[in-house]
Symmetry: C2
Subunit: 260 residues, 2 copies
């Protein structure tokens, strides 16, 4: 089982055949059994493609406060927690379910790939799936039978991720070593070359890379160094889904302990 977890990788080529409904049900049921604050999520499924990478299944995993409000209304209660607090917990519930679906899918011979644009397309997803207010799409997950068999991808060395008792000062040598491990790892796998994708440089920066030497740290630098991913756009999408962040007031309150 540990081997299976270590072998996980995203799949970007899928067979046409659709996983059987019983399989889909098993995978979602396994996702449901992940640990949660309060099951503050819902899972939308679309079999009607075309989906990215021609995957037969597209799941959209949402933070869902609508269902909580329905359940609380049934019991004669109203939500008082702030939208930011609710979203912070609901996102965790949603992502734990999604993660466990990935593991379940892999154990059944299926492959998956996350798509990160859902929060920026919330209004469109809301229209497509007729979402009620208080449901916010967090992430999408492609699924199907793999038509490729890539290796697991490189990761930072353990000592760049796990810190006991205190967060160390990361000196330039450590940063360089972590960067080199990532870059050399991806280059050895010809990852970007096979993907055929480099993020284009904006502004006056001069292109010094080709698909032969472009690798992970350059890729994430261009991503987070060029994509403005403005707060106001996310806030606007959240607002259209019935969530307000950055304008709420209230009092401090206690912690929340223990999952189920």
């Amino acid at each position: 089982m540990l081997d299976k977890l270590m072998q996980r990788r995203s799949i970007r080529r899928y067979e046409e055949r659709e996983p059987a409904p019983e399989l889909i049900e098993k995978i979602v049921r396994a996702g449901q059994q992940a640990p949660f604050a309060s099951q503050l999520y819902s899972i939308l499924l679309s079999r009607e493609g075309p989906h990215p990478f021609d995957a037969p299944l597209l799941f959209t995993i949402c933070a869902d406060i609508h269902k909580l409000e329905k359940i609380m209304d049934y019991r004669g209660w109203k939500v008082v927690s702030s939208d930011l607090a609710l979203l912070l917990f609901a996102i965790q519930d949603a992502i734990l379910a999604a993660g466990q679906m990935v593991t379940a899918a892999e154990s059944l011979g299926l492959g998956t790939c996350f798509l990160g644009q859902a929060p920026y397309q919330a209004q469109k997803i809301r229209q497509d799936y007729e979402l009620p207010l208080r449901v916010f799409p967090i992430v999408q997950l492609l699924m199907g039978y793999p038509r490729e068999d890539p290796p697991p991808r490189p990761r930072y060395p353990l000592d760049f991720v796990l810190f006991e008792d205190r967060y160390p000062e990361l000196n330039p040598e450590q940063v360089q070593r972590a960067a080199e491990i990532m870059d050399q790892g991806y280059l050895e796998q010809n990852y970007y070359q096979q993907l055929g994708a480099m993020i284009r440089l904006e502004g006056e920066r001069e292109e010094k890379y080709t698909l032969e030497n472009y690798s992970w740290t350059e890729h994430i630098s261009r991503k987070w160094g060029q994509w403005l991913l403005a707060e106001e756009e996310i806030l606007r999408q959240m607002k259209m889904c019935g969530f307000t962040i950055g304008k709420q007031e209230g009092n401090t309150a206690g912690p929340c302990k223990g999952g189920t």
Copy 2:
């Protein structure tokens, strides 16, 4: 493997003996292999108890932009994305790693339990672990050898979670059925009775429950209906960790596709 996922449950009683360092390393390495946007997380470990439920290990899983900035600085780049966008992706990275650690731990005979208060104790955690700015604790995870063997906990019925093509209108009968499945399931397991815990009623509400009939929907109603969990407190903790939300401006930008 699917059975193992379906059997997962939180553990609140632990043996004293500490899992071996090799085991801890295997579990964190498995967590690292989860799918990510950009490895925007770090994992803090404390073996020095006492921790809640006397668990020998306490992990604190953090959204980490500090490391990203170090890597980007090494490549001559600066982050331009908004803090809200960064946190939205970093929280997903952090939770996917945490979820995969849970599965890895279970596969090795260990038990786990999430603790949700980290975002409200961010400043204290920051001091305890000497966190640099741009690192925000999202969730904590207890781990150790289980000294109890509880059953997996009830979940909503599948048709209250998985929606194909459109989000249905949830009628009162469906809501009641979902509520009853949760409540009866928890009552059959004597969950709250064994836990010995009920959330106290605030204000003028009259207590009508005892540990014998108090169950899940009443519990989450009291949680989200009484805990103000104010936005300003979360924003204050985020601010102290170097993140500003609700006051940033910028432009819209493109999506982000595909995990690794």
